[in-house]
């Protein structure tokens, strides 16, 4: 029995003396491949996992509580800290929900820029996935190659908004800045170079015997499990269910863009790895189309909705009434109408949506962040039993969870 004292607390969930010969081990929360702060309590029979219990909450910051105490514009930078690998996707999901609630029309140039940023973030996130997943499985060089390309993509983000990780590059009602001079050229240069790099990764991994042995038939998620657990994104499409919110419930410009949704019916980590590679290629395709679209748009960046959105800077500095409205919007905040909105978006990790209940106040009455990784962590307790301890790391890596949004 445990004898808890002041310096040695009672370890719940851990049995040090057991009748059967299973062993309970504690995985994380400081494990290098726990992708942040995941603690798994694993019960092992030999090398086989009999029972797994994900324990989360080590990165809980009370984002939803903060949202209830902040005006809407103020909360937007907080969303950066949810899925910090692809911040713009969170900014966008939140801005999209608020825009839907107040019924805003975003100018076309802002839409083009937003969609570009979203896809660029998807590439950044997928490269990060590939790098860390490969590192977890043991392919060190891929980590270096993928991080190099990710660095170039982040340079592009930095050139646009000044930040590399916490972008806040999308605002409610549009985007704050137009693309800088020469940005599209650097983007297309990046897009020209990326396919070669992706080919390099695929040459190194796809037919690699070790890679296939480690990934094939590991982490099987059946379609029924995936639907029941509310999996989304690649976890869902990797199980043979074709559902991409960009295609099925299009938002922004995705309706006009020509791209495919790769689906795999392998249901395992290898299939999901292939999907990540294919999605990056699709993102390149989308970005190329957006580069074509950009010059045709009128140079307006923020929606015209004086009740909710501040006027452009020139107007604020020249017109008294615009300045007054800006002052009210900054000090008191916008007041969306009463009602509830749930706006799903396809973030790189899956379905990211914000449910906002507004009571007509400048603060959200309740904001629920539907984070894909939360449920992808939950499914671990069902897919880990029966696998081997060596595969646990692969499976965690393959779910691509980020703890900023699991714990919120």
């Amino acid at each position: 029995m445990q004898e808890p004292n002041k310096l040695r607390p009672f370890f719940e969930n851990l049995n040090f003396e057991r009748d059967d010969n299973t062993m309970v081990i504690n995985f994380g929360p400081q494990h290098p491949s726990a992708h942040g702060q995941l603690r798994l309590i694993l019960e092992l029979q030999g090398e086989q996992v009999v029972k797994a219990l994900p324990d989360i909450g080590y990165l809980h910051r009370g984002v939803e509580k903060m949202a209830e105490n902040m005006i809407y514009n103020e909360f937007l930078p907080t969303t950066d800290r949810l899925d910090y690998i692809a911040s713009t996707a969170n900014n966008y999901a939140f801005a999209h929900a608020v825009e839907k609630l107040i019924g805003l029309e975003v100018p076309r140039r802002a839409q083009v820029i937003r969609t570009m940023l979203l896809e660029l973030n998807r590439i950044i996130s997928h490269l990060f996935f590939l790098a860390t997943h490969a590192l977890d499985v043991g392919a060190m060089s891929i980590f270096l190659y993928a991080f190099r390309e990710r660095e170039y993509a982040m340079d592009l983000m930095e050139e646009y908004c000044g930040a590399r990780l916490t972008h806040s590059a999308v605002r409610i009602g549009g985007v704050p800045l137009d693309l800088p001079e020469g940005w599209l050229q650097s983007l297309s240069k990046f897009l020209d170079e990326l396919p070669e790099q992706i080919k390099l990764y695929e040459d190194l991994l796809t037919q690699n015997r070790i890679w296939k042995m480690r990934l094939e038939d590991v982490g099987i998620v059946t379609p029924e499990q995936a639907m029941s657990w509310g999996c989304s994104g690649i976890m869902l499409r990797g199980s043979g269910i074709e559902y991409d919110i960009r295609k099925e419930e299009p938002y922004e410009l995705y309706e006009e863009l020509d791209f495919d949704i790769p689906v795999s019916d392998r249901c395992d980590s290898y299939g999901r790895y292939r999907l990540y590679m294919e999605e990056m290629k699709e993102s390149i395709k989308i970005l190329r189309q957006l580069i074509e679209m950009y010059p045709e748009t009128e140079a307006r960046l923020m929606a015209h909705a004086p009740r909710y959105i501040s006027a452009p800077k020139e107007e604020i500095m020249t017109q008294n009434y615009a300045l007054m409205r800006h002052f009210v919007l900054v000090t008191q905040g916008m007041r969306p109408p009463k009602g509830t909105v749930y706006a799903p978006t396809e973030s790189p990790k899956g379905e990211l949506g914000f449910l906002i209940r507004s009571e007509g106040e400048p603060y959200a009455y309740r904001l629920k962040c539907r984070a894909p990784s939360f449920f992808h962590t939950g499914i671990l307790q069902d897919i880990l039993p029966g696998t081997y301890i060596a595969d646990v790391v692969t499976i965690i890596g393959s779910t691509n969870i980020v703890f900023g949004e699991v714990d919120r």
Binding site: G62, I71, Q225, W229, G339, T340, L355, D382
Partner: protein, 263 residues
């Protein structure tokens, strides 16, 4: 920005309040969509639907809390809502003494979403939907953790995000944003015991706090030494922080130092 309440006088009312502001309402449309009409018909057959309307393109069904399994089971098996994307609660305890629980569902074939709403009293429990949707294994735990809503027949109803021995439910409106007394002393109470609260003191309980008189750690704010000097030999009496203590304008006397200097 925190909602502003004057600390010295809580009763004080804001000088400006928008008495005539009436918040508009997001339009709640009648159910006309063919698919949604059939859903409402289907659900009405198994349980009482208190209200149904379409809000921003998504159907909203208000039901009795005791019917949640029947309604969600019907929606999943008959109407094709095979995915439950989210489930949680909204705190209306102060207004009505109730929680509002929502289930956000998705129909992949029809590409439609709907929301099932139900209200329960504070001490009332709700039936778990884990037999229908596995995601409730996690989501209902979170709801219990954050709001203290008991879920009947949940396989493992324990706190998920907060520690197991936590007191209070953080997302309730009655829970203070900065945490309560239990929260602020949590680590001290747990590691050393309650009697050590006085020994440690409020200034040491927060490990992220930077003390400007702390000479042991890196933050020697207020105790800086000249570059290259041995810190032990330097007089470590407090260096005052140099804010401009002398006001530039003497409003009382009507003297403007800056202006006078310029003259």
């Amino acid at each position: 920005m925190r909602r502003y309440v004057p600390k010295d006088n809580v009763q004080k009312r804001a000088k400006y309040n928008d008495r005539f502001w009436v918040a508009p309402q997001v339009p709640r449309l009648a159910v006309e969509d063919e698919h949604f009409v059939s859903v409402v018909r289907n659900v009405s057959a198994v349980a009482k639907v208190k209200d149904s309307y379409v809000e921003l393109g998504q159907l909203v069904l208000e039901i009795e809390p005791s019917d949640n399994i029947a309604v969600l089971g019907n929606l999943r098996d008959e109407c094709g809502y095979s995915v439950c994307s989210e489930l949680s609660a909204i705190d209306y305890l102060a207004q009505d003494g109730e929680f509002e629980i929502f289930y956000q569902l998705l129909n992949m074939k029809e590409r439609k979403r709907l929301r099932v709403l139900t209200r329960i009293a504070e001490k009332q429990a709700i039936e778990s939907i884990t037999p229908l949707y596995d995601m409730a294994k996690f989501a209902e735990r979170e709801m219990y953790d954050m709001f203290g809503i008991y879920v009947n027949n949940h396989p493992y109803l324990k706190r998920i995000i907060m520690p197991d021995d936590w007191e209070g439910h953080p997302l309730r409106k009655s829970y203070p944003l900065e945490g309560d007394e239990f929260a602020s002393w949590y680590e001290v109470d747990k590691i050393f015991g309650k009697e050590y609260r006085d020994v440690i003191g409020p200034e040491n309980r927060d490990p992220a706090r930077i003390d400007r008189y702390d000479t042991k750690r890196f933050a020697r704010v207020g105790h800086e030494v000249p570059f290259g000097a041995d810190a032990s030999l330097v007089d470590t009496t407090d260096t005052p922080i140099e804010y401009s203590s002398a006001p530039l304008s003497d409003y009382q006397g009507g003297q403007h130092k800056v202006l006078e200097k310029r003259k």
